[in-house]
Structure formats: C-alpha cells, structure tokens
C-alpha cells in the first residue's frame, strides 16, 4: 500500500462507523422526545371535550367536581372543579415531606458520619430494599392493618389533644373514619423515606473530607462539624433530595388510592377521607363513560404533569446552583 493511498491511515471506514453510531444514538433521543410530545398532545386532545362545557379557569379554580347532566336536547351541561383534588394532593404530599425529610436526612447523616463501615453497608442495602417494595404492596399493607393502627394510635392521640383546639385535626370519637387524608400522607412518607435517605446520603458523602478535617482540626466535635460545616455545605443538595421525593409523593397513585377514601370535596378534617389528583384519575377512569368525563380526567392529568414538570425545573435550578457553589471550592 502506498503512502499516497489514504487507506493507509484507515480513514473512510472509521468516519463511516462514527456517523452510523451517531444516527443510532441520535434516533434514540428523537424517539424519547417524540414520545414526550405524543403524551402531551394526546392528553390535550383527550381533554378537548371538557372545554366545550367549561373554561380551563373554571376547571382549575372550581371548588366542586359536580359532574355532568345530559339535557333532553342531547347537549351536556356540567362543571368539573379541580380544587378539592389539588388540595388533597398538596396536603398529603406536605404531610409526607414533613415526616420523611427529617427522618430521611437524619438517617443519611447517621449512615455517612456515624455508622461503622460494617453496619453502614447492610443498613444502606436495607434502605434500598425498602425503596424496591412495589407501591401496591405497601398499599395493601397500609389499607389493611396499618391504616387501622394509625387511626387508633397517632390519629386518635392528635385528635384528642390538638383536635380540641383545631377543628381540622378533629375526628368523631364514636365513628372514626376508616380512611383519611392524613393516613395517605403517612403512607406516602413511608414510601419516600428511602429516596430521601439515598439521595441525601450521596449528597452528604460528597462533602469533601478536607472540610470535616479542617473543622475537627480547630477543636470541633463530630456533631459541631456536622452542624456547622457538613450540613451547610450539603444544604442545596439536600433541598434537591427533598424536592425529588416531593415529586414522587405528588405523583404516587396506587397506595394513596387504597388508603385515602376517594371522597368528593375538601374534608373538614385531615382525619377524614379525601382525594388526590392521581387517586381521582385512577379511581374514576374505569367508570368514565362520556367524552367529557374522560376529558375532565385528562385535564387533571395535565395539571399533575404541569406540577411535576415545574418541580423538576426547580430541582434543575437547585442542582445547577449547587454545582456552581461546588466549583468555587478549592
């Protein structure tokens, strides 16, 4: 082969292989993007019938899911309001986060800062196992045994103390509800704790050891180092962990549907049944007959998607900020 022959350096075939792979990998991205677009478009299309009987504003701010009536002339009138389910989603998720964030972060601090190596590995594995429990299994456990136990312990205790002052924490002692918004929040907390632990653990582990040593070297105890150096340095990442878990809680469907009671309207107390966006869609879809009914549920789906989309946008902003901060170190 002569030097003037380009094949001596093998070009041609290498470039062809590269462009082939570029097309393969590129089309995978295009498929994923098209799927997302397809979901959004089909949701919007399915929701269209409901906009013939009401406006998006009256949907989002309507406080009653009244349903629809077919008039003698064949036209449909009705009103669907999303406020009660948005309320249920928000309240159950906030309860879940209030319980799961402190427990999860404290557990992560223990795993990284205190647990001996021999204990940390099996404990971490256990937490990961907990995350792997299918939500329907948790729902089954929660709807049966756990729900009643929570009602007769935590709920009963709160209702008979705080409930005397705040009506939204009260219950009828003679006929406590068998399902409630509060219990949905507790079940969500159980489901998202592993996620908070796992992400927080990574965040805390990524705080440079040199910072811990610097503070310990100045005469700080372990606890002072965690409080004044490790947690502040991890603050942004921990916020991200909590937001990620919040996203999971907002979208969680099956376990919530099994314990929340699926009652219409905003309940007067957290210890009464309610509904979330996701549980409403799951429990009503099977019975939705008319295009407007399906449309109303699709519109709820759009609301849920919008909320989780905004949340992941917030997480991206938080993570970008934390990376900028990290870049300044050293």
């Amino acid at each position: 082969m002569s030097i003037t022959n380009g094949n001596r350096f093998g070009f041609g075939s290498g470039i062809r292989a590269d462009s082939l792979f570029r097309i393969v990998f590129g089309s995978a991205v295009v498929v994923a993007g098209l799927l997302l677009l397809g979901v959004i478009l089909s949701m919007v299309a399915s929701s269209m019938p409901v906009w013939s009987i009401q406006t998006p504003l009256s949907f989002v701010f309507g406080d009653r899911w009244a349903g629809e009536v077919t008039q003698p002339d064949g036209s449909i009138t009705g009103n669907y309001g999303a406020v009660p389910v948005i309320w249920g989603t928000a309240v159950s998720s906030v309860i879940a986060i209030l319980i799961a964030a402190p427990i999860g972060i404290l557990a992560a601090v223990y795993l990284v800062e205190f647990a001996p190596r021999k204990l940390a590995a099996p404990l971490t594995f256990l937490v990961e196992l907990m995350a792997a429990i299918p939500s329907v299994v948790i729902g089954l456990w929660a709807a049966g045994d756990l729900s009643i136990r929570l009602r007769d312990s935590v709920e009963w205790w709160v209702a008979s103390t705080l409930g005397r002052v705040f009506p939204w924490l009260s219950e009828d002692p003679n006929a406590p509800a068998s399902q409630s918004v509060f219990r949905a929040g507790m079940v969500l907390a159980i489901m998202i704790i592993p996620m908070v632990v796992a992400v927080s653990r990574e965040v805390i582990r990524s705080v440079p050891q040199s910072l811990r040593e610097g503070f310990i070297g100045m005469g700080a105890t372990r606890w002072e180092t965690i409080r004044h150096v490790v947690l502040p340095a991890a603050r942004v990442g921990l916020t991200g962990a909590v937001l990620l878990a919040l996203g999971r809680a907002i979208g969680e469907t099956i376990a919530v549907t099994m314990v929340i009671g699926n009652a219409e309207g905003i309940p007067s107390s957290l210890f009464l049944p309610g509904q979330t966006i996701a549980s409403k869609i799951a429990s009503n879809y099977g019975e939705a007959g008319s295009p407007t009914q399906v449309g109303a549920l699709a519109a709820l789906g759009i609301c849920l998607f919008a909320v989780t989309f905004l949340l992941s946008l917030a997480i991206r902003l938080v993570v970008r900020r934390s990376m900028r901060q990290g870049g300044r170190v050293g």
């Binding site: 001996p116 190596r117 440079p208 040199s210 910072l211 811990r212 040593e213 610097g214 503070f215 310990i216 070297g217 100045m218 005469g219 700080a220 105890t221 002072e224 004044h228 150096v229 502040p232 340095a233 603050r235 901060q325 300044r328 170190v329 050293g330």
Partner: protein
C-alpha cells in the same frame, strides 16, 4: 504563665474556654516558654499495619521543625498523630507518648477535641469552609471556643488576618465567601483561622504543595514570622523549602516492612551539609526520593 487546660479533672469534661496559657492579643513581646513537644517511642498503626515505627523526637519550642522524606514514609501520619487527628480514621491507633510541656496528650483524661485547639493544623489543600465568609472562617474556631462577644471576635479576626499577612488584601471584603480568594490567599486564610484560637503548636501538612511559586514564597515568609510565637512542625516534599524555613529537620525513610522510621534529626544546616547517615546524604543530594 499557666498551662493550657487540655487535661480535665477526673476525666470530667470541663467547660470550654479559650486556652489560657497563651498571650492575649494586647500582650506582645512576652516570650512564652510553652510549646515543647516530645515524641517518645511513637508508633502509629492503621489496623494491623504499622505506618510509623518507634519515633523519638524532641521538638523545640518557638521554632520550625521540618519533617522530610520520600513519599509513604509516614511523615503525614506522624504529624496527624501529634494533634490526634489520625483518630478520625477508623482503626487508627497509637503506641508510645506525645507530650506537650509535660502533659501526655494521649493520657486517659485528655480530650482530643481540646488537644486540637492547642495544636492547630494547616492542610495540604486549602480548605476554607465554603458556606462561611472570610470573616466567618477566621471566627469559626472562636465561636467553637465559646467566645460570643462581637467586639472581641472582630479584634481577634483582624489580628489573626494581620498575622497571616492577609489583612490588607481582604479587609474590604470580609463578607465575601472564603472560597472566592486565590489558592495562596485561601491557604493564608486557613493559617489565620488556625492562629485565631491561639494555639501553641501549628502543624502544617505540605501547606504549599497546591500553590504556585509566588504564593509559596509568601507562605514561607509567613512561617518564618510565625516562628516567634508558635512551635511549627511542617511536612514538606520540597527540600529547598525545608532548608529555607526550618531550624531543625527530621529525615524519615521507609523500612523493609513499609513502616516509616526516623533516620536522623538535627539542626537544618547540619542535616543538609553534614548528615551522619549515608541515607540522609543521598536523599538531600537528590539521589532518591
């Protein structure tokens, strides 16, 4: 002058106070006689591995002692055993004694947290606390020591930054994050942070290895100035640095069992020009290491 209170009575934890045996800010000129370190038959282990072998060494008060030797010979490990930092690594243990002015730092009544307040440390890579301002970094140790008087803290921060030759560069931006400074400035900030709590000994673990030559020179100049007030022990890979900044030098090497041991120690000029051991001569002449 009083002994620093690192030993608590009957093993009970004593309330935290600033080490009292050290000169107050206004107290200039008075030459303290404290800060004498003595290592005796010191051995440091990581689990079953002996990283430092039977080291006995006297470290003179108010002077700079350089620990030199090839990589892996246990210099840093030895340094970290002086303020009990190595204990933060699981399974790390020590045999032998380290005494500071007659107090056994490994005695059963000694709180390692208090040891580290009397024996400060500067690390290889500058490590300012990223969530604290320049001021906050220097003040952090004072707050740990329980000082809450704002005026007092400000005075000590200013004084420490001046001693660390950083004040003029940062006095107008004390509220900016410590991590906004250049590498050399960050290291001087870490030195200011260490001296703010009025230690008697400052340990430096290759403090210039991450810095450029000009920043290195500034730190070396600073080390020579700080010698008047503090006992300084510095680990360095840079033999020119050792000869420039130190009064005494201890040369370490690695034994057949991979544990480090002390080959010889002495006045720096003597170690560099007339060592008694062939190994030392080969090392300082650059023939290995």
């Amino acid at each position: 002058m009083q002994q620093p209170e690192i030993e608590s009575k009957n093993g009970a934890t004593t309330p935290r106070v600033v080490p009292t045996g050290v000169p107050a800010i206004a107290d200039t000129g008075a030459v303290s006689t404290t800060g004498n370190l003595v290592l005796q038959n010191l051995e440091v282990f990581y689990g079953g591995f002996r990283a430092v072998n039977n080291v006995s060494l006297q470290i003179e008060s108010k002077s700079v002692t350089a620990l030199i030797g090839p990589s892996g010979c246990g210099k840093s490990t030895l340094l970290r055993s002086i303020n009990r930092m190595h204990e933060t690594i699981p399974n790390a243990t020590v045999r032998g004694t380290v005494t500071l002015d007659g107090v056994d730092l490994y005695g059963s009544h000694v709180d390692p947290v208090r040891v580290r307040r009397v024996i400060g440390m500067v690390f290889q890579k500058p490590n300012p606390f990223p969530t604290m301002s320049i001021f906050g970094n220097v003040a952090s140790g004072l707050r740990l020591a329980g000082i809450s008087n704002k005026g007092e803290i400000s005075a000590i921060v200013e004084d420490s930054l001046k001693k660390a030759a950083l004040w003029n560069e940062v006095k107008d931006k004390l509220d900016e994050p410590g991590t906004s400074l250049s590498g050399g400035q960050q290291q001087r900030l870490c030195i200011a942070r260490a001296i703010a709590v009025r230690p008697e000994v400052i340990l430096m673990d290759e403090p210039c290895s991450a810095l450029d030559p000009i920043a290195t020179l500034k730190i070396e100049e600073l080390i020579r100035e700080l010698r008047a007030e503090y006992t300084i022990v510095i680990v360095t890979h840079n033999m020119q640095q050792a000869s420039r900044v130190s009064d005494s030098t201890a040369f370490f090497s690695m034994g057949e069992d991979r544990g480090g041991y002390l080959v010889e120690s002495g006045r720096t000029p003597q170690i560099f020009t007339a060592p008694t051991q062939q190994l030392t001569e080969d090392y300082v002449a650059g023939r290995f290491g």
